[in-house]
């Protein structure tokens, strides 16, 4: 888990670096959410089709995708919008993953629409049987969109409850707007209770808590075939995106630093070991970034590709 957290952090830092060096137009991502996103990926049932888990992800989900086993170079390619970008062929922003083979639905920039779609995959899974579930994630500010409510409504219809894990990663910000100015709810998770959806707010900065809580929630959803609403309190360590500078923010809990302090204290890893790990990843990704830098952009005429799927 620690390894993946480091890997994800280093990946995001590399992406930010690429942006700052002019190797990409825009960065957005998930540094500060690793403690929650890594366990999420580890606990997912990976594979294609309704027997496996679907992920309708937010744009801060790199750690989940790495935990699922994805190679980091894809994210770098997307950052550099090269033709080799495996998620969008150089078309979409960083953090906009998509991998059908693993049921990762394409991340879409419009906030919250994934909450309107997730009931659809969950519905097929309910009918399909087995223990595959759908998972949807998004931010706190986005819950103001009607689609969040739609998700609660559609997943809790009596007799048609859906196996859907509804996640809100609450970093207490929507770009520059503090959550406490916009939310009348005591907790976002309270909104699930009105629908008789099992709901909980957890500390998403602690990977152990996150793992246990996610495990429990997922077991409930898998077995009961009913929705669960989880709010995870997380941090936004580099601000909203490159639009707000992408600089490290001092005053938020850094889940990785906190976890490492604990690991060190309990003698599970030494500072040296952790530094080595980080250095190794840093070098690896720097090398990848150099590789990606020379890869070609998509050709102009490729704009016409994939407008429609065709029968092969």
């Amino acid at each position: 888990m620690h390894d993946l957290m480091v890997k994800a952090r280093v990946l995001e830092e590399r992406l930010i670096q690429m942006y700052k060096q002019g190797h990409g137009y825009f960065w957005i991502g998930g540094p500060g959410e690793e403690a929650f996103n890594v366990p999420l990926g580890l606990l997912m049932k990976k594979g294609q089709g309704p027997a496996h888990d679907y992920l309708h992800a937010h744009y801060r989900q790199s750690a989940t995708v790495l935990a699922l086993g994805e190679e980091p170079i894809g994210a770098l390619r997307q950052m550099k919008n090269t033709a080799t970008d495996p998620y969008s062929g150089g078309r979409n922003f960083a953090g906009h993953f998509s991998r059908r083979e693993w049921n990762i639905a394409p991340v879409s920039s419009p906030i919250e629409v994934q909450y309107a779609m997730a009931p659809g995959t969950a519905l097929v899974q309910k009918r399909h049987g087995g223990d595959g579930i759908s998972i949807v994630t998004g931010g706190d500010a986005g819950t103001a969109e009607g689609d969040f409510a739609s998700c609660l409504v559609w997943s809790s219809r009596p007799g048609n409850e859906l196996p859907l894990l509804i996640i809100v990663t609450n970093n207490k910000w929507g770009i520059s707007t503090p959550a406490e100015t916009q939310h009348g709810e005591t907790r976002v998770s309270d909104r699930g209770k009105a629908f008789n959806i099992r709901s909980k707010t957890i500390d998403g900065n602690d990977p152990i808590t996150a793992y246990q809580e996610l495990k429990e929630a997922m077991e409930y959803v898998r077995k009961e075939r009913k929705p669960f609403l989880m709010e995870a309190m997380v941090s936004r360590l580099y601000g909203h995106s490159s639009a707000s500078g992408a600089n490290f923010v001092g005053n938020e809990v850094d889940c990785l630093a906190q976890f490492e302090a604990r690991l060190e204290k309990h003698g599970l890893l030494t500072r040296q070991e952790m530094d080595d790990l980080r250095n190794r990843y840093t070098e690896e990704m720097a090398a990848m970034a150099r590789q990606v830098r020379d890869e070609p952009l998509p050709a102009p005429e490729t704009i016409w590709n994939h407008i429609y799927a065709e029968r092969k």
């Binding site: 062929g89 629409v113 659809g120 689609d147």
Partner: protein, 351 residues
Amino acid sequence: MANMAQAVRMALHYAEEHLGVTDIFGEDVGAPLGGVFTVTQGLKTAWNSPLDERGIIGTAIGIAMAGGRPVAEIQFADYIYNTIDLLKIAGNTCWASHGDWNLPMVVKTPVGSGIRGSIYHSHSFDATATHIPGWKIVIPSNPLDAYGLMISACQELNPVMYLEPKALLRVKGEERIPGEPEDDRQLSKMIDAPLGDRSQWKAQWPQLEAYAVPIGKGKVVREGSQVTVVSYGRTLPLCKKAADELASQGVDAEVIDLRTLWPYDWELIKASIEKTGRVLYVNEDTEVTNFGEHLVRRTVEELFYKLLAPPRLLAGKFVPGIGLADTLEMASVPQQGDITAAIHALAGEQP
């Protein structure tokens, strides 16, 4: 012969049985009502959704992602306008994911005037729909085409917008649907839900046959040499009738039923205009930034020097709604007289 509502219903039954359709859903789509226009009565996969158009389109996308084949209904096109972002996403998912995901889903919705539907049961959707990339868009003007287009829609790998001209839903066809019984009353008895208690009722489906109207193919419904009239949906039969009547006045009009709005049958239109040198486009959406204007643009772009007169558009007036009163509806969207007059004028137009 079956009317269009029955035809779509039969196509959906066929699609449930043979094409893998898994979910036919929307507001009041399931039992007991089977749709406000009876289109989804008796279908085994039909179900009632919450009153939430965004949820309907979103769920359809999700079902399609997970390998289902949804046919989602928006009860009236008038209520689809809070979902345009989702329709755009459905249309760009394949492209944005560089071909990784495709969404085989159908959205059906009744469109247009003709039932005194007032401001919110009269909207057309062709202009808005054709501005959204990544969709295929069809609109039948008779029951047989309605049947064949729905079957094609349910075989598509991509999102299909299926527009139902509500004024034509109860109009019977002139051609029999393959498998449809000879006697209309018998058909009605078999597949129309009874009045009153329906809890025990089940449809008796006729032995339907595959019949697909290919997406992208228009149809010449009347051949002519002097002027080309291109239309679809509610106004198509009016164009046909106008052309038939004008024949006695020496005007020989060719009438094309576009049937698919995107990707449309330009070859058919072009060949006709090359023959006649004159073209009138007719639809009932409001006339500013109207799909007919696209067709006009394409016409002048490619055929300008072959035209004998300017390409014309007859469409709905650019007013905020279709008023309830008969007088208002008549004045807002093309009626028989307007169409006849427009064809007549164009056929005789001289510089």
